[in-house]
Amino acid sequence: MKQLITLRINGVDEGLYVEPWWTLSRVLREELNLIGTKEGCGGGHCGSCTVLIDGKAVMSCLYLAMKARGKDIMTIEGLQGENGALHPLQEAFIEHFAVQCGYCIPGMIMTAKALLAENPNPTEEEVRAGLSGNLCRCTGYVKIVEAILSSAEKKGN
């Protein structure tokens, strides 16, 4: 039976009727049409559903929506700055040609954001290990890693 809950998504409180078994990914994609968060496997192995919950990277396809009450959820849609300014990671992914089919990209960027928040100056090895939950079939990861490393250097935080 659906329950009325509030979820804080990208800084906005959304009132939603959800079934107890609904995943956060389903609520984002189907109820709020926040389609930037993708579903590639439904089993938590490909990372294309990655969102940030209280700053930590989470597979939203395995995370129950009800459990997200009271937490700060950020999706790819919430990354833009004011007046549509791109986040430095988004700029870096464009500049470094890290984008091909694009399906893994929102998950990659959200994971990278969490990674850099925890480790602002990672080595290449640490970036690659940090992407262990994100599968990409197009790029071979070279330019994704390059974009993340360059973003870390630029930000300097």
């Binding site: 590639g40 294309s48 089919c101 694009g102 992407l131 994100n134 079939r137 071979g140 990861y141």
Partner: protein
């Protein structure tokens, strides 16, 4: 050639911004009002009779709007080349997971609940899974006993009456291999095995079908080849083709897995319910119903002279095509190309067999069979090199075909940059220098050559619209599957008009609006074919512009040129007129001449078709007519050659293989956008590391055991070499005379050669030869133990 200002530059991809914002609507994201969700019930058995089906309980589930079985579906058999495939299983199932029923419901949960209530009674039949056993003349199980009644788009010489499960037999014969082997001073014979693997496009297969008020349909897809979908759906369901519209935007990866049709079931449900129906395959469904790649068993026998000259090659190739043919006949035919267009060999006998087994039907994957064949032949070359005591690079260089020489099927070699590819990677990786051991790790280096053809006998169109605000709009029907097509053609159009690429817009992939693009974005064909069509359409638009400008400048069109949307007289550039001014009414024109654009609804439209003509081969011998060949006629559109060199480290205690360095050279004619070429190359090398070391579809009694991303190991970032150890080299010394700016397509060739290069490197490191992919630790350890 004049200096290029946009082509050849690293123009930022036009699709990157919306993708990093997560704003693009992929097919799997689409929601339509009143939309129903699809669940498909698959067979439990690899081979069984369906005795009865009862959907009555399923129909009662709240939210269910329709439950269908074969009795509700058109009776026509479908299939790309052989019509052997019912929409839903009809009387018999031939693989685990074969669709037997489907449900459309208002929610996925309701559809799943209904599916569990569908009762099917089966009588299990014996099944056959081994491709060599199935290919025999007297197999224990015949999967399609009715084969002779099927519609088959193959000449009889390409069928096999003696082998009841073989649905295509490809012969490529040249000379006399018996004689050739008699003359050989060294013969190497080996058997190689490449398993079925998964495409692993991140976006699962998806389609949304919307019934239209006029009785037609709109299909929102994520495919390679929207025209085929339109034609096939129209024909299968008896709808007039002009009422079927197929459209898509960006596709979340394809790699060949989105060519075969899976739109029938949601179309059936949409027609029955009158409501839009969506089917997004789960990862489990995509791994089975999406069509994994074929597997192959390859037996190679090569004969050499002592000095390394190749004399004869005999190959027997068994292609596991699963339970239904789909595009496997084409794969079986075309995979031979990598073996016949690289080296000079006087005698060849190639027999390729496409074989039915009781396993999931297949869809060709990036390379279309070429990678498995290249694994076999490039491993064979290294095996021979060692036995002959000849350097493996020298052995290849010595036997390489040259420009103007006939290939083994009679086609004349044109645009072959293989030698330079070989030199670039081997010199850069310092092939002859072996790294020192580190603990249990032994290092080794290996190389391989490869090539990938692109199909001919296709055609495609392009339309260019030049607007009043001096923008160029390109209309095309190719597929944006991640390869960067819209960026590359924007560069070409920008070059033609002398403008910046950000003044170019692209409208794509809509059968109601965009021109036909035969065969879809497959066979590495988009840059070559669409690029040519776009350039010709630009010419057509410019012709009209120059005509109108000529009236205004009082100059004949032939002496005009255009830059920055300004037309000028080449010899007197101060005589000029802006394109935007052509849209305004002009005072000083003779009244009997039309004013030009102002009278033509404010649009200049250029259009063109690019036909990639080709000639067929003789189905008895695979040879093409030598007279036509000498006249320059072609069998394939082009061949792009590649070379790979890798350095590996092998752990002699665990058998683990790590790729330390990976260098790929591509003979691409002209890099239209070097960065996007690198993108392809890096992705391709990663795919080859995956299939070389980690990936295999595992089955037990026909059931796929790893239809997911947890047990099927496509490589992650941590399994790849570091960035500085992944290098791409462009070879532009052999441009193609018909390619746009000399360019050839190579987006499949970037994978080719990885598997044999890795196998050769492992041998170089620890002296064992692995002839079955993937090269897992277990296989390496077993081989090390056997060697002692």
């Amino acid at each position: 050639m004049t200096e290029l200002s946009v082509v050849g530059k690293n123009v930022i991809r036009v699709d990157a911004r919306t993708k990093v914002l997560g704003k693009d609507e992929y097919c799997s994201d689409i929601k339509l009002p009143g939309m129903l969700h699809t669940k498909v019930l698959g067979s439990h058995y690899a081979h069984a009779k369906i005795l009865s089906m009862d959907t009555s309980e399923a129909q009662k589930v709240s939210g269910v709007r329709c439950v269908v079985t074969q009795k509700d579906a058109p009776k026509k058999l479908t299939g790309i080349i052989i019509k052997d495939l019912p929409i839903l299983a009809s009387g018999v199932v031939r693989y685990v997971g074969e669709p037997v029923a489907a449900v459309a419901a208002t929610t996925l949960e309701a559809a799943e609940q209904a599916m569990d209530l569908i009762k099917v009674e089966y009588e299990e039949l014996p099944a056959i899974f081994d491709v060599e056993e199935a290919a025999g003349t007297n197999p224990p199980v015949i999967i399609h006993p009715d084969f002779s009644n099927y519609r088959v788009m193959l000449p009889p010489e390409r069928l096999s009456t003696e082998r009841p499960n073989v649905f295509t037999h490809i012969k490529v014969y040249k000379g006399d291999t018996d004689k050739g082997f008699e003359e050989s001073e060294l013969i190497v014979e080996n058997r190689f095995v490449a398993p079925s693997i998964q495409h692993c496009a991140l976006e699962p297969h998806a389609v949304v079908v919307r019934p239209e008020p006029d009785g037609g349909l709109t299909l929102f897809t994520g495919k390679q080849g929207i025209s085929r979908v339109k034609e096939d759906i129209a024909a299968t369901f008896g709808i007039e083709p002009h009422k079927v519209r197929v459209k898509q935007q960006y596709v979340g990866g394809a790699f060949g897995g989105k060519v075969i049709l899976y739109e029938y079931i949601p179309t059936l449900l949409a027609l029955k319910t009158g409501r839009p129906v969506k089917w997004v395959m789960t990862r489990e469904e995509a791994s089975v119903l999406g069509g994994p790649r074929e597997g192959m068993v390859l037996i190679v026998k090569d004969g050499f002279k002592k000095d390394g000259t190749l004399v004869a090659r005999k190959m027997e190739v068994f292609v596991d095509g699963g339970a239904y043919a789909e595009n496997i006949p084409g794969i079986t035919r075309n995979c031979s190309s990598v073996a016949i267009c690289m080296y000079r060999i006087p005698h060849l006998k190639w027999d390729g067999y496409a074989v039915y087994t009781n396993t999931p039907k297949r869809s060709g994957m990036r390379g279309f069979g070429v990678n498995e064949v290249d694994y076999a032949i490039e491993s064979s070359m290294d095996i021979a090199a060692e036995k002959l005591g000849i350097d493996p690079v020298e052995l290849r260089r010595k036997n390489l075909l040259r420009e103007g020489e006939p290939m083994l099927n009679g086609e004349i070699t044109h645009s072959i940059g293989a030698a330079e590819c070989l030199d670039r990677v081997c010199e850069s990786i310092k092939l002859k220098e072996k790294g020192a051991p580190e603990g249990p790790w032994r290092k080794g280096k290996g190389l391989a050559l490869g090539n990938k053809y692109s199909t001919a006998r296709t055609h495609c169109g392009a339309r260019i619209r030049v607007t009043e605000d001096e923008r160029v709009v390109i209309y095309h029907g190719a597929d944006a599957i991640g390869q960067g097509v819209n960026t590359v053609i924007s560069q070409m159009a920008a070059e033609e008009f002398g403008i910046s690429p950000d003044k170019v817009d692209v409208v794509f992939s809509d059968t109601a609006i965009t021109p036909y693009f035969g065969n879809g974005s497959t066979s590495s064909r988009t840059t070559f074919n669409l690029g040519n069509a776009v350039r010709r359409a630009c010419d057509d638009a410019k012709r009209q512009i120059f005509q109108m400008a000529g009236w205004n400048l009082d100059a004949p069109p032939e002496i005009l040129d255009i830059r920055n949307m300004e037309v000028y007289v080449r010899t007197h550039p101060d005589r000029k007129i802006k394109v935007r001014d052509l849209f305004s009414p002009r005072q000083n024109r003779p009244p009997q001449i039309s004013s030009g654009v102002g009278d033509e609804a404010g649009e200049i439209i250029g259009k063109a078709t690019y036909r990639m003509d080709g000639i067929p081969d003789d189905p008895r011998t695979g040879q093409i007519d030598p007279v036509l060949a000498r006249q320059g006629q072609r069998f394939m559109a082009f061949y792009a050659y590649v070379a790979k060199a890798v350095e590996v480290a092998v752990n002699i205690e665990t058998g683990e293989v790590k790729v330390l360095r990976c260098y790929g050279a591509i003979d691409l004619g002209k890099a239209i956008n070097p960065k996007t070429c690198e993108q392809q190359s890096e992705g391709g090398m990663a795919m080859g590391i995956g299939s070389g070391l980690h990936e295999a579809m595992l089955m037990e009694n026909g059931r796929v055991l790893n239809p997911n991303f947890s047990d099927y190991r496509a490589p992650l970032a941590a399994q790849m070499p570091f960035n500085e150890n992944m290098k791409t080299f462009f070879v532009e010394s052999a441009p193609h005379k018909d390619g746009p700016f000399g360019a050839k397509g190579f987006s499949e060739g970037v994978v080719t050669g990885m598997e044999p290069a890795i196998a050769n490197a492992v041998h170089n490191a620890v002296g064992v030869r692995i002839k079955e992919l993937p090269i897992t630790p277990e296989k390496v350890i077993r081989a090390l133990r056997e060697r002692g």
